[in-house]
């Protein structure tokens, strides 16, 4: 799947909290155009800390992060124009209706009226929330908010899609739709970097995986390189516990 153009490059990224505790320690990895890159690890291993730094939400101490050649530290605005982010528990503007929120995102990315109408309709239909787009987000269930956040991330065709635990809260059909969409957009050259606890999903979906433990990458590479015929679960338990 890889097309060898580096979209996301994390080089020696280190994040130190409070009294010197390293939440991320010299993290280095590269996500190329067309990759679906899974980022796995225990709770508190440093997945969200890394993801939040990639999307420019979190400051970091050492290292560099590049998105399509732009430094997140120095050119964060350029980076954000190329990226879409879906957090694990999206807090959206609850006083807007679904369509108002999507319009807000579309306005931010300067998407024309016709283009947004087409893509909102396409994705909202796929996730079966078109009927609810006129309702306030505060009336949405967790899963519906998650679907809305996913649609908002997709409507501006990002070069890099970053997702933190995207399948949590999604019903089986929506999870299947999301996986299909992930495959589709990767075919078109988008790079996807996402964290998950569900190893089966990572195994079936990703072409590359990185395992993080206590802030350090302890294993990374293509799925084949990592597993060598074993299941991802077995590999994960071996490297994490070993």
């Amino acid at each position: 799947m890889g097309k060898n153009k580096a979209i996301l490059e994390i080089k020696g990224y280190t994040k130190i909290y409070g009294e010197g505790k390293k939440a991320a320690d010299n993290v280095t990895l590269t996500v190329e155009s067309g990759d679906i890159y899974g980022f796995i690890g225990h709770n508190g291993a440093g997945k969200s800390t890394t993801i939040r730094a990639v999307v420019g939400v979190l400051d970091f101490d050492e290292g560099e992060i590049f998105i399509d050649g732009h430094s997140v530290k120095d050119e964060s605005f350029e980076c954000k124009k190329l990226t879409a982010y879906i957090p694990d528990n999206p807090d959206l503007y609850e006083n807007l209706t679904g369509i108002q929120y999507l319009d807000f995102i579309a306005d931010v990315f300067g998407i024309s009226a016709e283009e947004r109408q087409k893509s909102i309709k396409e994705y909202a239909d796929k996730f079966e929330i078109t009927d609810s787009l006129g309702d306030l987000i505060s009336s949405y269930s967790h899963g519906m908010k998650q679907k809305l956040a996913i649609i908002s991330a997709l409507i501006h065709s990002p070069r890099l899609l970053v997702l933190d635990e995207p399948f949590v809260g999604l019903d089986p059909k929506a999870a299947f739709t999301l996986k299909q969409i992930m495959h589709d957009i990767c075919e078109k050259g988008t790079a996807i970097f996402f964290s998950t606890h569900v190893l089966d999903v990572a195994e079936k979906l990703c072409n590359k995986i990185a395992i993080i433990k206590q802030g350090k990458i302890i294993a990374s590479g293509t799925l084949e390189e990592l597993t060598h015929g074993e299941t991802l679960e077995e590999v994960f338990l071996e490297v994490v516990d070993g």
């Binding site: 964060s76 605005f77 954000k80 982010y85 807090d91 807007l96 807000f104 109408q117």
Partner: protein
């Protein structure tokens, strides 16, 4: 009982700056907390200075006996107003409602703990008034030793009755509002009606009590204070208890407070679940049909987002719109009431004419519309949603420009309306009216930009309840108090200058000054925003 104390303690701890300071390792954050303490300390000192100055006035004119009633009145008014604007955010529809109701607490206990939480958080304000007026009273009256502890203790009880009154009004608005489809708008309208009735009844009572309208201003105020005591009995009980050491008054103040507390929270407790369930449920039509979409500019879309944020919150709407509504009411009122009569009523018979007041019109209007600028709390209001603007390609400059644009949308139409109607009513003439309109727009721009500077400088995203930033945020307080006092000073200054030189020249000078200040504040806001990128 023990469980309720645990709840109260936890509520206080969850928003306590001391707790954050104690456990926060980030030096920058700790510095900000210390800064907020210092800022709050300055505000308490300002209030204490005001109270001491008032006591000096009372003492100087031989009205020392009126100081206890004045203290009780100031505390009562402060506590009533503070609570009225906060009740909806603190008592009803708060975010941890589900979590608390799932725990073994009675609904009335939760409501009562939330009320006590509000009370304890406001105690420094009441104590500032109490201690400073006690100092003033002690200086002039040389009271016995027993007065000192009694004064402080009873002044801590004094705010509870007005707070209960305000909380009960909040309860009524929430209960009535919860029956409507658009609960937020309904609650806001009802709150505004109650506020209007409270202000209206104050003037009505004052008017009934007045015997001689040409009395000296200070003795007039003292007269009102004394007579308020005969209408609002807790003021009388406080005065009697601390000056005459009257045990009956002491007992009455404590007993009535306790009884009212029990009664109010028994009533509130009965409907608490029903009100919160209604406020927490949202109608979902599920009938959306995709129609033609429109593309907006980024700044407009941010301004629209702010508008929706406002209409989704009773606390936001009541606090942001109160000045505008008062301004609108004033603009309408002067069309029907002789402005000379209004001036006489407001200035308590001071020898001022409408002609003399012409240069002050934009400042009077600004006093209301500039009372709160939404920009001083909207940066903090992003709260947990901050990740959205942080992860999107929106420069902070653009974000704050959008927030400023919204505040201008909100203030300018009301300010212009009131300014023009008052100018017409005061027969200010075309040139003065035009200049006045330009000045009021410049003042709105200044308020917006100055508010934004305060809002960005004192941004607080980790709030638990929006009341913390809308009503008690450092940005709001830093904006509000100097703005209010400077405006009052400017009203006096321009009236005085208007007696020396042409009103048009005074207004033109003020346009220049306010435009320069607005531009400077805007530049400062933009430079602060650029640092956040």
């Amino acid at each position: 009982m023990g469980r309720n104390i645990i709840l109260l303690k936890t509520l206080l701890r969850s928003t306590s700056r001391f707790n954050s300071y104690k456990y926060c390792k980030d030096k920058k954050k700790r510095g900000k907390i210390v800064g907020a303490w210092v800022g709050a300390g300055i505000l308490y000192l300002m209030l204490m200075s005001y109270c001491i100055a008032t006591c000096v006035g009372y003492g100087h004119f031989g009205l020392t006996a009126g100081i206890p009633a004045m203290c009780a009145m100031v505390i009562s008014l402060l506590s009533f107003v503070f609570t009225l604007f906060k009740t909806n955010g603190y008592l009803f529809g708060f975010k941890e409602y589900d979590m608390l109701m799932a725990l073994p607490f009675e609904p009335k206990s939760i409501a009562a703990c939330k009320f006590l939480y509000m009370y304890i958080n406001s105690l420094p304000w009441y104590l500032s008034v109490s201690v400073s007026t006690l100092v003033g009273y002690a200086y002039y009256a040389k009271p016995s030793f027993a007065v000192y502890p009694l004064w402080v203790i009873l002044s801590l009880i004094q705010p509870i009755i007005p707070m209960l009154g305000a909380a009960f009004l909040g309860f009524l608005t929430a209960k009535l509002g919860s029956g409507f489809k658009n609960k937020t708008i309904a609650q806001t309208v009802l709150t505004m009606i109650f506020i209007g009735l409270c202000f209206g009844s104050r003037f009505f009572i004052e008017d009934m009590l007045k015997n001689n309208k040409t009395e000296e201003v200070l003795s007039n105020i003292s007269d009102i204070t004394d007579k308020t005591g005969s209408v609002y009995l807790p003021v009388k009980w406080f005065g009697g208890a601390v000056t005459e050491l009257n045990v009956l008054y002491m007992f009455l103040l404590i007993a009535v407070t306790a009884v009212l507390f029990t009664v109010v929270f028994t009533i509130v407790g009965r409907s608490y679940r029903q009100i919160n369930s209604a406020l927490g449920s949202h109608a979902a039509a599920g009938k959306f049909v995709m129609k033609e979409q429109k593309q907006k500019s980024l700044i407009s879309t941010i301004a629209f987002k702010e508008f929706k944020r406002m209409t989704g919150s009773v606390t936001y709407m009541t606090n942001a719109l109160i000045g505008e509504i008062m301004c609108f009411g004033m603009g309408i009122a002067v069309l029907f009431v002789d402005i000379e009569k209004v001036i006489k009523a407001v200035t308590k018979g001071a020898p001022l004419t409408s002609e003399m007041m012409v240069p002050a019109i934009p400042f009077i209007v600004y006093f209301f519309v500039g009372m709160v600028a939404t920009t001083c709390f909207t940066p903090s209001l992003e709260g947990k949603n901050y990740w959205i603007v942080q992860s999107l390609p929106i420069r902070k400059k653009t974000l704050y420009q959008g927030k400023m644009l919204y505040n201008m949308f909100l203030t300018v139409p009301f300010a212009l309306f009131a300014d023009v109607t008052i100018s017409i009513s005061a027969k200010a003439g075309v040139v003065n009216t035009l200049l006045s309109a330009v000045l009021v727009v410049c003042l709105c721009a200044f308020s917006t930009a100055w508010g934004c500077v305060c809002g960005i400088k004192h941004i607080k995203l980790d709030w638990e309840n929006e009341v913390e930033v809308i009503k008690q945020g450092t940005g709001v307080v830093v904006y509000l108090l100097p703005n209010m006092f400077v405006t009052m000073g400017l009203i006096v200054l321009v009236v005085y200058l208007g007696t020396l030189i042409s009103s048009a020249i005074v207004t033109a000078g003020m346009i220049l000054a306010s435009a320069i200040l607005a531009a400077l504040c805007y530049a400062r806001a933009m430079s602060l925003a650029a640092k956040q990128d």
